[in-house]
Amino acid sequence: MPNKKKLSARLHDRRDAVLAAWLKDLDGQLDRDTRGFRDDASTILDLLITQCGHAEERWDEAADSLTELARARVAAGFATDETITLVSALRSAALREVAALDDIELLRHLSKLLDVFLRYLVDAYVEARDLVIARQQEDLLELSTPAVKLWDGIVAVPLVGTLDSRRAVSVMESLLNKISETQSTIAIIDITGVPTVDTQVAQHILRTVAAARLTGARCILCGIRPSIAHTMVELGIELSQVETHANLAAAFAAALRSRGLDVRTSDA
């Protein structure tokens, strides 16, 4: 296809001019220093030039490279609007160079290519961002389910909110880690903050109790509100194997007692 050859030849010849125009445009529009972006910009431009020369539409290679670049941009803290500025600046710089040839067909062809190309870049960027967000959510998940040491040999985990499978697994891991880290023999699971205890939640609790038992720790459950107790009985959830107490204070007192400690008001 002569059009493609001509197009890629033109961009190839004017590569440095396009790059310079692109970066200059960016310098004016972005609030950040674009120096660190220079290498990436030339890589992106070369990808575009190669893509123009391809006889047939093959995007896998370009897509892979773009994904990698987008990850780097995201890691460097580029925001969404900055990425859009970035790609539209490339668009105008490239179109300007080809417009000088006064060939409407060529221009149309480049514009079409750029559309696909830029969509890949934006997709890759969005995907990279989603990845970062997912990772942050996971971090948050861990943060929101901290097992804490209450006393020598006693750890507790307060469960708050909806206990879906993902969270339940993270709670279980956090508790088991804490048990072994602190060499505890008693683990208190406080479910005061769990609004709904269904069979799934119950199963997760029972699994945690069983796993803790394997590491040599006994679990104490507390914070089952009356309405939830009613519901659990009706559902047929069997918790008779697990020691339960009304609230965290009662559970803690029982835990201390079973370690041979006693809480008293001092005489003074």
């Binding site: 879906d164 499978s165 709904t196 559902l235």
Partner: protein, 143 residues
């Protein structure tokens, strides 16, 4: 085919998809809000919400997804109000309904308590299922 009378009283309902864990949470929340709206007490409300959780999760786990339709119903004028939820899916249906209600019966390593338990948690319960056609379950709790 097993069919109790799954006859919804609601003429209009809020239809919610059940295709992810998060949807189960949303259905639960919507049921809780309706129950609060018509003054269903804490214990009955907690039971209704838990039944919704079980049935929505069954739709997700055993039928690969479906939908829930929620509504406030008042059959005898405005004298009596209830929350009605219909769970419907186009999944494999329940082969042996009697066993499915049995305590401890699960085809997916669950506790096998959800279905039978839900029936005890609400005032009205009706189920209709046919192999290959899907399952529809209606529940109601009155204020």
């Amino acid at each position: 085919m097993v069919s109790d009378s799954v006859r919804p009283l609601a003429r209009e309902a809020q239809v919610m998809p059940i295709v992810s864990d998060h949807d189960v949470v949303l259905v639960r929340r919507a049921a809780r809000e309706l129950a609060e709206e018509i003054g269903i007490g804490l214990v009955a409300r907690t039971k209704l919400v838990t039944a919704c959780s079980e049935l929505a999760r069954n739709v997700l786990e055993h039928a690969g997804g479906g939908r829930a339709s929620l509504a406030v119903v008042s059959p005898d004028g405005a004298r009596r109000h209830g929350v009605e939820v219909v769970f419907a899916d186009d999944g494999p249906g329940i082969g042996d309904v009697e066993r499915a209600f049995e305590r401890g019966y699960s085809t997916k390593r669950g506790l096998g308590l959800g279905l039978g338990g839900s029936r005890r948690l609400v005032d009205d319960f009706a189920l209709s299922t046919e192999p290959g056609e899907g399952t529809t379950i209606l529940i109601r709790t009155w204020a």
